[in-house]
């Protein structure tokens, strides 16, 4: 099963609802545990809000919504900040997990039980002792976010 991940990879893991997800750790710029989020009226679906990242304004994306997962609705979500398209973007998740080192030989393709559109967003799956870790192709998810969710707006009148 080589080829799904380039080499021995480290993934930063997190939880959204009951799902256990991971992204390439090199993509992650930082993790914020508490951030004041400013809501954006009439924003496209999937836009969680704006946060102040040391003087820069970063957009927070509801990554769960993009992937069709429901968040646990915890009051204090965690922000996983990555660089995408030359700017900082934060992914809103429920809990942050450990950084795991994965053996690329043991990475499986995404489970066929998921439908095609979801599988296209994943880079692979990794069986852990009592959990299935889904490795997300985060760049792809962000690039096609507006297609995934349609461009309908929040908070219509």
């Amino acid at each position: 099963m080589t080829g799904l991940l380039p080499a021995i990879s480290q993934v930063c893991t997190f939880r959204i609802g009951s799902a256990y997800l991971g992204i390439e750790v090199l993509d992650v710029q930082e993790v914020l545990f508490r951030a004041d989020v400013t809501w954006v009226p009439r924003a496209e679906r999937g836009i969680y809000g704006l946060i102040n990242l040391r003087g820069q304004i970063a957009t927070a994306i509801d990554i769960g919504m993009c992937l069709g997962l429901s968040r646990s609705g915890a009051a204090d979500p965690v922000h996983v900040v990555i660089r995408h398209g030359g700017e900082s973007v934060s992914l809103v998740v429920d809990k942050i997990g450990d950084v795991l080192t994965l053996d690329p030989e043991l990475v499986d393709p995404p489970p066929v039980t998921l439908d095609e559109s979801k599988r296209a967003l994943l880079r692979g799956a990794y069986q852990l002792d009592d959990d299935l870790l889904l490795i997300v192709d985060i760049r792809r998810v962000l690039s096609v976010r507006s297609e995934l969710l349609g461009t309908g707006c929040h908070g219509a009148r």
Partner: protein, 801 residues
């Protein structure tokens, strides 16, 4: 092989030049000769600066070439490096031509030729060649030195040197000159975009060649477009390559002394901060006054100084125009001279970037269409040489740039016809527009054949793109033209975009910033109550303000927030957009501040309501409201074309224009009376009140096969009771608004009076008339219909007529 695609002096890292290829070189076929002297700008100060820059950049370029030449000896066929050297040489050659340095130009030219034999064939760089080329660089250095010392190219004879270069050029390859007149369209350099694509593996060399051949044969598309159209590469690859080109140009030149003072100020800032920290940790909060004041003044100084580093004189963009003017004039067979005044006017760098393309386009238009040929001009009694004048100045917090010519002016009739042909207006509509309004039609999208919003300097573009690009930086552009006299474009742009004064307001849980430039007034609103109900005109909330009816936007509603509690006082911000005023209802006004504008992320760029965001003193994020976007989204303001229509209507009922003032007098409920101008009334109808139906929360009647919205004049003007008493009839004065019929309803029709005595307001408008010994208010029907526009013209739907 002609290396035709280099913009002049493109090595200057902080300038992007959109000019045609150096057509000048075509005239210098022999490579020598003083023919280029005429192209000098007659401003010796500008010349010195240009030469100084040229020297600096050429030397930098030479250093680079030498480095490359050495590398090339080890990798003799590295096209990448060869192209790099080519690029530098070509730039050098072009500038030499412009500055009138024939010796230097011919040396550079010959060196180019040597390189091209390597590049275009399988021949490799031999040591001999490398020697000669390096010697060439030395020769060039000598000439540059001489130029620096004495302003001339020096006495050394380069003839022998050139012969040596020629000898080294392989005999099998015929010498190629840039004899072809390249198409003016695309600014991309062959040696750059093509190379970038090939080196990125996004395109084949052969495809590039073929695309270039097409360009040469007259295809006006850009290299990138041709490749994408033919499926030879992806648009993303082209964009990436262009991005790489551009990223080389994102640096800036700053005066070292300015940087020194910046460093000093930052030092002071650090000291001040330390002071404050110490006071705080000592628990001495009361002593913070002094350091805080100090902090304030240092920050202001620092801010000003940094802003200054971003300011560049507009001459930087202009300096490239004389060349463009010369080339274009030649090409169009006209004789045009350019005059530039106010080149030292300083403008923020980002704005300068955004101005380049629009200015270039305007100049192209002017020379291409505006200015007549020599003989034509003489026949008209004008000087055979046309004049293009550029003026820049600071006017009231903005920079004003005038681009004017003394050419033929715009052909209004031709614009009329074209606009109808292109479907922008109908024949009837265009007949009713004034000449000035017709001229503004050239800004309408679709007016010119090929307009593409993102590619201003690529395919032929229309003035609509020019205007959008100017409005994008917060500016505006206007035209005045006179038949046979010439045209003037007036561009007004803000000084800087980065820091703006704004009003911080609250609405719901968040705070928002409203740019002060759009803010006219703040009004405190009394809580809505029985005695003070929200006024509505035709279902749309309005506010009576200084005698006008303002359409209102409630920010809470717009944002989808629940309404405020009954009895809560709110504030009204009177905003202006495109000349129209409207009111924005907000919860609380907090403060005014100078805020730093931060762009929104890519995912929010398309958002209509917000133009950016800022971070407030307490670290929270405030979105900056895009006043234009808000007005358009809530439909309180129309686009300028429709506006000009109604301006016309308004003008046609201007009291100054009509000599005859005929009024129709109507009775409102409970005995009150009002007057309307008869000239605005299309028809007068008596309709049963029972025929009123509800459609989209408006009162309408079925009328003449269509639906007629009804505005109840009593409540709308606040002067009388409602006319809509059931079981009775109402008098409806049918007016036309934006091409649709609207009915203004009163209780009864009373009289028609010609030329009564009138009472005027201080600004001359007629307020009321004395009819039958009674003062009767004159109602501006147009204003009433304007105020109820959001209801009359529902967003997204056409008005049902």
């Amino acid at each position: 092989m002609s290396e035709r695609a280099q913009p002049v002096a493109c090595d200057l890292p902080h300038l992007i030049i959109v000019t045609p290829r150096p057509k000048l070189l075509a005239s210098n076929r022999a490579g020598t000769g003083p023919a280029t002297k005429e192209c000098r700008v007659d401003e010796s100060d500008g010349m010195e600066e240009i030469v100084a820059e040229f020297l600096v950049e050429s030397r930098e370029g030479l250093d680079r070439i030498e480095g490359h030449l050495v590398t090339l000896e080890d990798a003799p066929h590295d096209l990448h490096i060869i192209s790099e050297i080519f690029r530098v040489l070509h730039t050098l050659k072009g500038t030499c031509s412009y500055l009138g340095l024939p010796k230097l130009e011919s040396v550079a030219h010959r060196a180019e030729t040597v390189l091209s034999t390597i590049r275009d064939s399988d021949h490799e760089m031999t040591t001999e060649m490398a020697d000669v080329l390096l010697a060439t660089m030395d020769t060039i250095r000598l000439i540059l030195e001489s130029l620096e010392r004495s302003g001339t190219e020096g006495e050394s004879d380069v003839g022998a040197f050139i012969e040596e270069l020629e000898r080294v050029t392989l005999a099998t390859k015929p010498q190629r000159r840039s004899t072809d007149l390249p198409p003016i369209a695309a600014p991309e350099a062959r040696g750059r975009l093509g190379d970038l694509l090939v080196s990125a593996g996004a395109a084949e060399r052969s495809d590039i060649e073929r695309a270039l051949a097409k360009q040469k044969a007259g295809d006006g598309r850009t290299l990138g477009d041709i490749l994408v159209d033919e499926g030879k590469t992806r648009q993303e690859s082209v964009n990436e390559a262009i991005g790489k080109q551009r990223s080389e140009e994102s640096s800036i030149r700053v005066d070292v002394s300015l940087l020194d003072s910046l460093m000093n100020m930052v030092g002071e800032l650090v000291l001040c901060r330390n002071q404050i920290q110490r006071q705080l940790s000592d628990g001495n909060a009361s002593n913070l006054q002094a350091p805080a004041q100090r902090l304030n003044s240092i920050t202001t100084e620092l801010q000003n100084a940094v802003m200054k580093t971003r300011l560049q004189p507009i001459g930087r963009v202009w300096n490239k125009l004389p060349r463009l003017v010369r080339d274009l004039s030649r090409q169009c067979g006209k004789n045009v001279r350019i005059e530039m005044h106010g080149a030292e006017t300083e403008v923020d760098r980002t704005i300068l970037e955004a101005l380049k393309d629009p200015l270039t386009h305007m100049v192209r238009n002017t020379i291409g269409h505006g200015i007549e040929t020599g003989p034509e001009r003489m026949a008209l009694g004008k000087e055979p040489e046309g004049l293009l004048r550029l003026t820049a100045s600071h006017q009231g917090g903005k920079v004003q740039i005038d681009v004017s010519d003394d050419g033929a002016g715009m052909d209004v009739d031709k614009i009329r016809t074209t606009a109808v042909e292109r479907g922008i207006v109908t024949k009837d509509e265009v007949d009713e527009l004034t000449d000035n309004e017709v001229v503004h039609l050239i800004f309408a999208p679709g007016f010119s054949t090929a307009s593409s919003v993102n590619n201003l300097s690529g395919r032929g573009v229309g003035m609509d793109v020019v205007r959008i690009n100017i409005e994008r930086i917060g500016g505006e552009v206007d035209i005045t033209t006179g038949r046979g006299q010439g045209t003037t474009f007036t561009i007004r742009i803000p000084l800087t975009l980065a820091i703006i004064p704004a009003l911080i307001v609250c609405c719901g849980p968040n705070r928002y910033a409203i740019p002060q430039v759009s803010l006219l007034e703040l009004v405190h609103l009394e809580p809505v109550s029985a005695e003070n109900p929200t006024e509505e005109v035709c279902g749309a909330p309005v506010y009576r303000h200084r005698g006008h009816l303002l359409p209102i936007v409630d920010l809470r509603l717009e944002f989808g927030l629940p309404p405020t509690a009954e009895g809560a006082a709110r504030q009204l911000a009177v905003l202006v957009c495109d000349g129209r005023e409207f009111g924005l209802v907000i919860d609380v006004v907090e403060s005014t501040e100078e805020i730093v504008v931060k762009p929104l992320g890519r995912s929010l760029k398309d958002n209509q309501l917000f133009s950016g965001a800022t971070i407030l003193g307490d670290g929270s994020v405030a979105l900056i409201i895009d006043v234009v976007g808000l007005a358009v989204a809530t439909n309180v303001v129309r686009t300028s074309l429709a506006r000009s229509e109604s301006r016309l209507k308004a003008a046609s009922v201007d009291p100054e224009l009509t000599e005859d003032l005929t009024l129709i007098v109507l009775g409102l409920g409970d005995g009150a009376r009002i007057a309307l101008r008869l000239s605005g009334v299309d028809r007068l109808e008596e309709l049963p009140v029972g025929s009123i139906e509800q459609s989209r929360q408006r009162d309408v009647v079925q009328y003449r096969g269509g639906v007629l919205p009804i505005i109840d004049l009593g409540p709308a003007t606040g002067l009388g009771a409602s006319a809509l008493v059931s079981g009775q009839t109402m008098s409806v004065a049918v007016h036309t608004y934006e091409g649709r019929s609207i009915g203004l309803a009163a209780a009864r029709f009373l009289d028609i009076v010609a030329n009564p005595s009138v009472v005027r307001a201080t600004d001359g408008t007629i307020e009321s008339a004395i009819i039958d010994g009674q003062v009767t208010d004159l109602i501006d029907a147009f204003q009433i219909m304007e105020a109820s526009r959001p209801m009359l013209v529902p967003v997204g739907a056409g008005l049902i007529s």
